[in-house]
């Protein structure tokens, strides 16, 4: 529960700031600052301590709003970008790179959505002869905070009128009420991330159960929404083949194949610096028991293990979801 909100002075009067503040019924502590970096980027912060009670930081995103993503992370497109209207997540997955990426565990929300819209539309125009893919949910869970951020209702209209832009909303949340009220948008993909239930229970703290997420996908599919399946990271565990097969089978029996846009998967991977920071801050992580190898500065499983896991995953996916394109997110 948020008890403190830091607000940049320049957006004190912003319409979205006022909307967000009006959603807090209980008295909250508001602290004004000149720049979010005064709170968010302070080096000596302890991510794990802050994660126990994160504050909300409202700010204006300056500079570049869209960032290129590697081709190997695509879901079939050539022009791929990610954007982050928010940094950090309400969930606490032990493998999450955010805990090694940011100094702070506070939720940082950029309220100037309109500046994101301008860049997105500009990019769509620039790439007018091909589809542009926009990924949301790299630095946050786009849906988990939707009740507060109004992300869905704000960003959907941009893609309703720009059919050459494809939006992927990546989530582990079941906050789909606002999407269900909306008419399906053909160029929007609601992509759900999964690990098998027993792994999720162990290391994806505060994340809704696999069952609840599958129910959400089922409801969305029934309404005609396109669903993305994301198995990233793949985590080797006891009965690896069986637990992943059970998960795929469960999804396939609940979500019709024609509603599934794409499947992607990826091995756990961290740049060296991020990996070291994570281990330092969270030494009792269960994932540290996995056998990580340093592959040219990227900590992941050995090449042999990766190949073995890939073969099992692709084999099982094809067994239950034959005609859906599968992408391996490799670094």
């Amino acid at each position: 529960m948020i008890e403190t909100i830091y607000i940049e002075n320049q957006i004190r009067q912003h319409r979205r700031t006022e909307e967000i503040l009006s959603k807090f019924k209980k008295k909250i502590n508001i602290v004004y600052c000149d720049h979010y970096g005064e709170i968010f980027n302070i080096k000596s912060q302890n991510f794990r301590i802050q994660k126990k009670k994160p504050a909300l930081v409202l700010a204006k995103k300056e500079g570049k709003k869209l960032h290129d993503i590697p081709k190997s992370f695509s879901i079939g497109g050539k022009k791929n970008y990610y954007f982050s209207h928010m940094l950090n997540c309400i969930y606490d997955c032990e493998y999450c790179f955010l805990q090694g990426k940011h100094m702070s565990a506070h939720y940082l929300l950029f309220v100037n959505y309109e500046d994101f819209f301008i860049e997105i539309e500009k990019k769509i125009k620039q790439n007018r002869f091909e589809k542009s893919y926009f990924f949301s949910g790299y630095d946050c869970d786009s849906l988990a905070f939707d009740g507060l951020t109004n992300f869905v209702e704000s960003f959907f209209p941009i893609f309703e009128k720009n059919k050459n832009g494809i939006l992927e909303i990546r989530t582990k949340s079941v906050q789909i009420q606002k999407i269900l009220k909306h008419k399906p948008i053909d160029n929007c993909i609601i992509a759900f991330s999964f690990t098998p239930e027993n792994i999720s229970k162990l290391i994806e703290h505060k994340v809704p159960s696999v069952k609840k997420r599958i129910d959400s996908m089922k409801k969305l599919a029934k309404k005609g929404w396109k669903i993305g399946l994301r198995f990233d990271p793949i985590i080797p565990a006891c009965n690896f083949s069986k637990i992943y097969e059970d998960l795929f089978k469960n999804i396939a029996s609940n979500v019709p194949e024609e509603n599934i846009h794409s499947i992607s998967f990826g091995m756990m991977r961290f740049p060296k610096k991020m990996f070291k920071k994570m281990i330092k801050e969270y030494p009792n992580k269960k994932i540290t028991s996995l056998n990580f190898k340093n592959n040219n500065g990227i900590y992941s499983y050995s090449k042999e293990v990766q190949k073995k896991l890939e073969n099992i995953i692709v084999g099982k996916l094809k067994k239950y979801m034959k005609n859906i394109p599968i992408f391996n997110c490799k670094v």
């Binding site: 502590n29 004004y32 600052c33 005064e38 912060q45 302890n46 301590i49 802050q50």
Partner: protein
């Protein structure tokens, strides 16, 4: 009291320190330095002003464990707050260079939170909704060399407002205000030490 961390407390004046020294049963180590090893509480009387507060904080930091918690306790003025009211500080600004510190507010407490401005001379007119003191910026400048925003905090007790100026403050009043708030401060200290 949790026994894992030490807490280093910086207060400006002896009158502010006396009720705390008595409450925690702190023993005098040197002229301005008190401690209770069992309770892991250290207290230093810095003298008035941010430079003195900074120096005293660094002295404590160098003398104690590097996992210590730092706390500044003292009096401050505010336009409207009631005399004797206890406030947990949410933002500290050095009025001279406008630099600000933001202590993380992670605590289970109903104590009011408010920003504070550290000034060089006592404030007679309260121009905005902040508290005013003369030490906190120096304390934070010193403490934050050693710990992050979670482990440096500031508690102030209101000593003057628009109806009762700084000229009405007396040593006895200071002692009484701090004395009456010591149980509340102690509760908060216990919260701090859970970190």
């Amino acid at each position: 009291m949790h026994k894992t961390n030490e807490i280093n407390i910086v207060v400006a004046m002896e009158r502010e320190a006396i009720p705390l020294i008595n409450y925690w049963d702190l023993k005098k180590n040197s002229k301005k330095f008190y401690s209770n090893k069992k309770k892991k509480i250290n207290l230093i009387i810095s003298g008035i002003g941010k430079k003195r507060a900074e120096k005293a904080t660094i002295y404590l930091a160098e003398k104690t464990d590097n996992n210590s918690f730092f706390l500044n306790i003292g009096i401050a003025g505010h336009k409207n707050y009631k005399l004797g009211e206890v406030i947990l500080i949410s933002k500290i600004t050095d009025n001279k260079n406008k630099y600000s510190w933001y202590p993380s507010l992670l605590w289970k407490t109903k104590i009011k939170k408010a920003p504070l401005i550290t000034v060089i001379f006592p404030k007679i007119r309260y121009t905005n909704n902040s508290l005013y003191d003369m030490e906190a910026a120096g304390f934070f400048k010193g403490a934050r060399n050693f710990v992050g925003p979670e482990k440096a905090q500031c508690i102030k007790v209101v000593s003057d407002n628009k109806d009762s100026s700084i000229l009405n403050i007396s040593s006895k009043k200071i002692e009484n205000w701090i004395y009456s708030k010591t149980p509340v401060i102690n509760k908060l200290v216990n919260e701090f030490l859970k970190v």
